[in-house]
Symmetry: C2
Subunit: 396 residues, 2 copies
């Protein structure tokens, strides 16, 4: 990177979302409007909608196969911003986090000073057979028949347990911790605590993963407002800056993976993000990472450098990733409790970090030491792409 970190060319000055859940009573457009309203109202010094110069809409696919497929040109009109340039970004499970990154580059390019990024996804309006995930697994003529998301991650759990002694109880500790956090997040889909015994007794989905090792299918929407760093003070006295980001792709199919012990895309993406931000993982105060399954969070915290490879299970079971631990992870409840409306997920993770860095996270607030926080997604036939964004409250 040409700019030694933190990059800090772009600031997040607004952030808001709707409560995630099964939102059969809201249309795609209504969900987007709800997120936009919450974002607008969060801008400390106010935002006139006419100040929005460009938009990016993060929607992976949605289940309706209609408007969400061209969300870039239906959302502006639906939320009262017709005329504004708008582009839909899609990048599998990191769709929202990548839209955030693209929006930040649009600001840094000097073309637009004020950019709205909205993530919105309908996951529940069609049956599983007709829905997004069935379609996602339908692509390759040979390799992927019958492959659903649990099938893509379960082999990593099996191998990790064999190689490192990771246990089902350690996996369960991730679900218990994230549900504990979700029970304290008014925007989470699931707001109930669970126990290790409940996780172990849940119906098996794809061995060794049971029902409570898996994130739910959730509808949701979330929005953030990005502005050029030099104009941040027009909108707030407490801006959060984009310190850096990184993206990496990997071979998409399971049989092409190097091993089943970690995700190469996450390692590459985070290395790029740390370099751009000029920090190492020890400087992070908290993180929101991609826990589509319990094993995924364990892989993540190893691949992102929060603990040594192979120690993620014990690190979690020891409480190190809890709100009061040495490295709080998924204080929002994560995908496991908060939910995973794909296009909205990454944006919502960034919102949680925005609240944390502004000390507005209420009962989920972590202690701030260095003022950095990391957001991470991985996805696309399991782990074909990873996106990492690093935020900071520190001015450059």
């Amino acid at each position: 990177m040409k700019t030694p970190g933190p990059w800090n060319k772009v600031a997040v000055v607004g952030a808001g979302m709707i409560r995630f859940g099964e939102l059969f009573d809201q249309s795609y457009e209504q969900m987007a409007a709800g997120a936009w309203r919450a974002c607008r109202e969060s801008v400390d010094l106010g935002l006139d909608p006419s100040q929005v110069e460009a938009m990016f809409v993060a929607t992976q696919r949605g289940t309706l196969w209609g408007q969400e497929g061209i969300g870039g040109n239906t959302v502006p009109s639906a939320i009262g911003l017709s005329g504004v340039p708008c582009t839909r970004i899609e990048n599998a499970c990191p769709t929202g986090s990548d839209a955030f990154r693209v929006g930040a580059m649009a600001v840094a390019s000097g073309v637009h000073d004020v950019v709205l990024v909205i993530g919105v996804e309908k996951m529940r309006d069609k049956s599983a057979e007709e829905g997004l995930l069935a379609r996602a697994a339908g692509g390759h003529p040979i390799y992927t028949r019958g492959e659903s998301a649990p099938v893509l991650f379960a082999p990593f759990a099996t191998r990790h347990m064999h190689e490192y002694g990771t246990t089902k109880e350690m996996l369960a500790s991730v679900a218990v911790k994230n549900h504990y956090n979700g029970a304290r997040d008014p925007f989470a889909h699931f707001q109930n605590e669970i126990t290790v015994d409940q996780v172990l007794a849940a119906p098996e989905v794809c061995s060794p993963l049971g029902l409570l090792d898996c994130c739910p299918q959730t509808d949701g929407a979330a929005a953030v407002l990005l502005v050029s760093a030099e104009r941040a003070q027009e909108f707030t006295d407490s801006p959060v800056y984009v310190a850096g980001f990184g993206v990496a792709t990997d071979h998409p199919y399971l049989h092409e993976k190097q091993d089943y012990l970690g995700l190469l895309a996450s390692r590459l993406a985070s290395a790029r993000a740390y370099e751009m931000a000029g920090i190492d993982p020890k400087q992070l105060d908290c993180a929101e990472v991609h826990d589509c399954f319990t094993i995924t969070e364990i892989l993540d915290i190893e691949d992102l450098g929060f603990c040594e490879k192979g120690t993620g299970g014990a690190f979690s079971a020891a409480g190190e990733t809890a709100i009061g631990g040495s490295m709080p992870v998924n204080t929002s409840g994560g995908l496991l409790a908060k939910g995973h409306p794909i296009g909205a997920t990454g944006i919502a993770q960034i919102i949680e970090l925005w609240w944390q860095l502004r000390e507005q996270a209420g009962p989920r607030q972590v202690a701030l030491k260095n003022g950095y926080a990391l957001q991470h997604n991985v996805g696309g036939r399991g782990s074909g792409v990873s996106v990492v964004n690093i935020l900071t409250r520190n001015a450059k």
Copy 2:
């Protein structure tokens, strides 16, 4: 815009495509690989694939409902660039042109110096009922049942004829001219000339539009290489610069349109692009515009300022938009003859202009006077979004 035009922060130093057509014998990934190869080989001073720092893949939806839905993380591996950051851009019919713009902003942001933009779309592998266009029209619960693309544009033809005396023969002149050009383009889907009589005698699709007033459904792929302007000379002695661009959205549904005489999104998008490039339409040497139907090209040349509103039909019939005319339009054959593989369309239009501005267009070459050329798409429930890119061979 903060930078008085031409913007010229980014240069196009490579451009290549595969022949458009019904490509049942090529997979989505093979099409992408063909475009990448052609692009790479077009770089005058050579390109090492390891120089590519980031990619954007333009795919609207494809008909297979599999890999194309996550093309951002399957294309890099398929073309030998696994690891490289890659994002899929979608914006209805302007998907390719918008990916070009987003790629340009990524370069201008300073984050990436060398960016590959690939447009690729499978339109023919599934039936019309299952395919992309049927899905595109399926979104709204009330307004859009049975609405196919001709239904979205035919009312504009009817009204334009009533208001301005535009005739079916004038519409036909667009199809005749674009097929004449396509017959001279080795990458075009249709490479045959047609006559006005043939257009008028063709089966009616949606009155007053007949079969030869409509573009075909076509498979295709196209790729361009973008680099920061200060590094262009490492790749070529004949760079083409991005002088400016503009995007605008509009209310997506027909009943929300201001009138049926023009497309507001095209007017707004081009005004923004002209301002950013610091030129007016008279400085253009040629243009590639969105001729999904003959009437669309007539609306375009009026809305883009090539002729007065209402005079587009006569302007076309008089030969002003032919290769030797005062304002050559769609020298590639346009969507009507070259084809419209959605994600690839805008990129392929840009490639035609790249050839024109480098005087490599062979029998289609226009006379260069001012060194500017314009690319335009409009789409998304007809005209919910428009993207305009302006290129120049003039250094800043």
